[in-house]
């Protein structure tokens, strides 16, 4: 059988993924994380009497802290499995990717384990995040002058 024919045979037996349902869950959970973030910003700026820019930093730190804590306690992976990109795309996903890698490679020690593997998943996000930030900065500079 030709590879092309076999590919057709395989796709005949491929199950339908519930894309719409997954997207809806991700949308709702992602939205809830967003609302939570906004509430935290309001909370910090009101009670600590700081600017909303400073409060955003506090909010990010809080979300990172809880995502990492829940990863360490061992149930965040089950949430991610359910909510999918609803929890992977926000800052919670970034924290989760680093904590999970850190936990996984702890046994190989601080250098060859945690040190060389903690950015295993987050490395791409950082690299391409920095590169695209540079490009968008450049575009902004050219169009609006800074």
């Amino acid at each position: 059988m030709e590879k092309r024919q076999y590919n057709d045979l395989v796709s005949q037996h491929k199950p339908q993924e519930s894309r719409i349902q997954n997207a809806m869950i991700a949308f709702l959970v992602g939205g809830v994380v967003g609302i939570l973030g906004q509430l935290l910003v309001e909370f910090y700026s009101y009670y600590l009497d700081i600017s909303s820019k400073d409060a955003s930093v506090f909010m990010i730190v809080t979300l990172i802290f809880f995502a990492s804590l829940f990863t360490a306690l061992g149930f965040f992976d089950k949430w991610v499995n359910f909510a999918k990109c609803g929890l992977i795309i926000p800052i919670t996903g970034f924290a989760h990717s680093m904590t999970s890698a850190g936990i996984e490679y702890k046994k190989e020690g601080p250098i060859f384990g945690v040190g060389s593997n903690i950015f295993k998943l987050a490395g791409s996000v950082i690299l391409y995040g920095v590169v695209s930030a540079w490009f968008f900065g450049l575009i902004r500079l050219i169009i609006v002058g800074g």
Partner: protein
């Protein structure tokens, strides 16, 4: 290539499993069940070593022999440098052969062990294999706590250790023949659909076995593939019909779909996989059924996706292989 055996018998077998397998429909048939994935060890890799070590020790106890009585140990697993097998066999002080055919390892081990026994060079031989869900996830995919979502076609690496003691002393189950499979590549490259990559290898080995032995599929009471999963199983039945004109659907099943309760254990998606998946089902359920006389001729076809993340990232396809072993009840 099919090799016929006349004096190779199944002496004993043992199975050790983790929590997910214990909860499955075959849960009560296993010799030892752990309710924790670490099973008292400090890392996933060490946990896998322990599972294999346990299964070999239980095997010796059941067969009432000591380590010194074992002529040869043949073992393989999924970890880099087949390290679980090496560390588990470390205390044996027996001649050791480490093998790799991914999830087809169990049948490769049986074929090699049987060939050694048939030649008269060894009296008995242990063929063992293991896999661990977490050590495999760590090595092949993402950190285990990451829990990235997977498509429905993905399979779940089984956790356990399984050992088989083969020897020349007659018992009521014999290894009748073994077929060594060929490496197949039909252009599949989705690591979340290994069933599609492996089905052609299973089909080729089954076809070759039936051709070499001049048998029809209905010669066997049961033809069992290793870990094609729900979708791979359908692909195999369809592919066998279109490519070779053989209908195996009447007496065919897949170990990956038998190890777990697919309705209530949805985390396994399309079913179980890993070298130990087929070994667990074969050394518990299948051999039990043969001993009770419910099955008398069984063709085990362990299927292996020779998946290398490096080669797949370099845009190569996933290769696959399947080895078959025919077991028969001696009248």
């Amino acid at each position: 290539m099919t090799i016929k055996y006349n004096k190779v018998y199944v002496q004993n077998r043992s199975t050790v499993v983790g929590p997910y397998e214990a909860k499955g429909p075959l849960g009560n048939l296993f010799d030892k069940r752990y309710d924790d994935l670490y099973n008292g060890e400090t890392s996933w890799e060490k946990a896998e070593v322990k599972l294999l070590e346990d299964s070999m020790n239980i095997l010796l106890n059941k067969a009432k022999i000591s380590k010194q009585d074992v002529d040869l140990v043949i073992a393989g697993d999924l970890l880099n440098q087949i390290s679980a097998s090496c560390y588990a066999t470390n205390s044996f002080n027996s001649p050791f052969l480490g093998i790799y055919s991914a999830c087809a390892t169990s049948c490769e081990g049986i074929i090699l062990a049987s060939t050694f026994i048939e030649s008269g060079n060894v009296k008995n031989c242990i063929a063992a294999t293991s896999s661990h869900n977490m050590s495999s996830e760590k090595q092949f995919r993402n950190p285990t706590e990451y829990g990235a979502p997977k498509p429905k076609t993905a399979t779940f690496t089984a956790t356990g250790g399984a050992s088989l003691l083969l020897g020349s002393t007659p018992t009521n189950i014999k290894v009748e023949s073994g077929t060594i499979g060929k490496i197949m590549d039909l252009g599949q490259n989705d690591p979340f659909h290994m069933g599609a990559a492996m089905a052609p290898a299973a089909a080729d080995t089954i076809y070759q076995h039936l051709k070499d032995t001049k048998r029809e599929p209905n010669y066997y009471d049961l033809i069992l593939t290793g870990d094609l999963g729900v979708y791979g199983k359908d692909i195999l039945i369809d592919y066998m019909k279109t490519e070779y004109g053989l209908d195996i659907s009447a007496n065919y099943d897949d170990c990956g779909t038998m190890l777990y309760d697919l309705q209530n254990q949805q985390e396994v998606n399309a079913g179980g996989s890993g070298p130990v998946c087929s070994a667990l089902v074969n050394y518990s359920y299948v051999l039990n059924m043969m001993e009770k006389g419910n099955l008398s001729r069984v063709l085990l076809v362990a299927t292996g996706a020779l998946f290398s993340p490096t080669f797949v990232y370099q845009k190569e396809n996933i290769l696959s292989i399947a080895h078959a072993v025919s077991l028969e009840v001696v009248e």
